[in-house]
């Protein structure tokens, strides 16, 4: 055994548990505003994630207790459940978690070694494979658990009124039809900032993010960079042409922006790791998310933004190495 011979009591488990705890306010708001079906999805995702991880570890003859107990699979599972619409059929959730845990995580050797954010791989592969199902969310105000549970079990999805487009979707469709931003906002699916109910969800995630920041689990540069990237780009275009581009507040309060800001771009494994790199990475995600939201074919661009920036991480890290001791000041006379 070699030095150091003493260690601080800290562990990966504790980090992951804190992240799970920080998700609770958001989940509470989700239940209140969108539907309790999220709990079913979280349960399905968690069970699938743990079972998949256990199976793979067994297959690779790796110790189960340490890796399974670190809680990282649960974090991924919860994030997937929160990112997918809560009324997707159960098999889609299972598929998504499989893609994340088996594909994006364990093919690369498990926790810490995956270059892509597993939850976002899950989201993107699902939205590419099942675009229709993935864009159906509970219509605002329809939080009826029985109806949502029916859909999760695979019930018919043609019932009007229960499902509806998200605010982002509505905005995009409206703008494609050359409608004015203000006219679209007046149409009813919208609340005071983003989609109706969704603004409160954003507040819930913001609260959880505050916990993570206070406990120094996440680096402030990542959420800040993301918010600046998404909000800044949105603000710029909104100032130029407020009829054709919705406000930065709308962008930040809609979709998964706050979830992404505090729980997704902050994944240390797949984010850039140097201080400057973190800002660039997160801002890049924000800007790409805005581009995809505004011009792309998919309603939510954050997931693609994250994956695209994941690709750039080795490059960003390499070119943003911080100055080390003795490099900042040159020789003194």
């Amino acid at each position: 055994m070699s030095s150091p011979h003493i260690r601080q009591p800290a562990s990966v488990q504790r980090i992951m548990l804190t992240v799970l705890l920080a998700l609770l306010p958001g989940i509470a708001v989700y239940i209140w505003q969108i539907g309790a079906a999220i709990l079913v999805n979280i349960a399905i995702a968690s069970a699938t994630a743990l079972a998949t991880e256990a199976f793979i570890l067994k297959l690779r003859k790796r110790p189960l207790a340490i890796t399974l107990g670190d809680g990282s699979a649960l974090v991924t599972a919860w994030l997937i459940a929160l990112a997918l619409p809560c009324i997707v059929p159960w098999w889609l959730t299972v598929l998504a978690v499989l893609a994340a845990i088996a594909g994006a995580k364990h093919l690369y050797g498990g926790i810490g070694q995956n270059p892509f954010n597993p939850a976002m791989i899950a989201y993107c592969s699902m939205i590419v494979a099942y675009p229709a199902i993935m864009s159906q969310w509970p219509a605002p105000g329809h939080t009826d658990f029985a109806a949502q549970f029916h859909l999760i079990l695979g019930g018919s999805r043609d019932i009007d009124g229960i499902t509806g487009a998200t605010a982002l979707d509505a905005m995009r469709t409206g703008l494609r039809n050359h409608a004015n931003v203000d006219a679209i906002l007046a149409s009813g699916t919208f609340g005071f900032a983003g989609g109706r109910g969704w603004e409160w969800l954003a507040v819930g995630y913001l609260l959880g993010g505050g916990i993570l920041l206070a406990r120094r689990i996440i680096d402030w540069r990542l959420p800040l960079g993301f918010i600046a990237g998404l909000g800044g780009t949105a603000a710029l275009f909104w100032l130029i042409s407020p009829e054709r581009f919705p406000s930065p507040l709308f962008h930040l309060a809609s979709g998964g922006a706050m979830l992404a800001a505090f729980f997704i771009v902050t994944d240390p494994v797949t984010a850039a790791s140097t201080p400057r790199g973190k800002l660039i990475f997160a801002a890049g995600v924000g800007i790409l998310a805005w581009i995809v939201r505004s011009f792309g074919a998919y309603p939510e661009g954050i997931a693609f933004g994250v994956l695209l920036m994941n690709i750039c991480v080795p490059w960003i890290d390499r070119h943003t190495q911080p100055a080390i001791f003795g490099q900042q000041q040159e020789t003194r006379p």
């Binding site: 003859k61 790796r62 110790p63 189960l64 207790a65 340490i66």
Partner: protein, 181 residues
């Protein structure tokens, strides 16, 4: 049909002429690749590849005359590097290099001072003169073993370099992960 033939023939002729012209007018001498190959070789000068030293072997590889996997001291490692440099398929040498360096040591009691080993040494690492005892400058010796066969009294042996706190290395940390629970 005729048009097709004419056009294709025309293209082929024009390009052939251009290629021929280029081949004649842009010919270059010298082979910088040999230098790069030489840089990858271990420089033991042991001649086990069949060439009288590392540089000649490098030139032979560069000209395509020799295979890339003939270097014994370099082993699979060197063959892999050469394959990478030249964009060729890696061929295993079947030798993994044992990392402990060896040097020749002359048993000075037995040495008769015949100077045969001095002539064999590719890096002039043996000193001595006729009828005088010889010795190996171990700092320079590459451990190529070329001095062993000529010695009439078999007084040369290869010994491992002694481990001292100065040349000792830290081991790769054993990770707890690989342990099966």
């Amino acid at each position: 049909m005729l048009a097709a033939l004419t056009v294709m023939t025309g293209i082929a002729l024009a390009l052939g002429a251009a290629l021929g012209y280029a081949a004649v007018h842009f010919k270059v001498e010298g082979n910088p690749i040999a230098e790069q190959i030489d840089a990858l070789l271990p420089q033991t000068q042991c001649a086990q590849c069949g060439y009288p030293g590392c540089k000649p072997y490098a030139e032979a590889v560069a000209s395509g005359e020799a295979d890339i996997n003939l270097c014994t001291p370099g082993g699979d490692d060197a063959a892999r590097k050469l394959a990478e440099l030249l964009g060729r398929e890696f061929k295993p040498r079947g030798v993994t290099v044992e990392k402990t360096k060896t040097v020749a040591l002359i048993d000075e009691q037995t040495c008769i001072g015949c100077t045969l080993c001095i002539q064999a040494c590719p890096v002039d690492a043996i000193v001595g003169s006729a009828k005088q005892m010889h010795t190996v400058i171990s700092r320079i010796c590459t451990g190529c073993e070329l001095c062993l066969p000529p010695c009439p009294v078999d007084c040369i042996a290869l010994v491992e370099e002694p481990r001292t706190p100065q040349n000792w290395r830290w081991k790769y940390p054993v990770t707890g992960l690989k342990v099966v629970a």
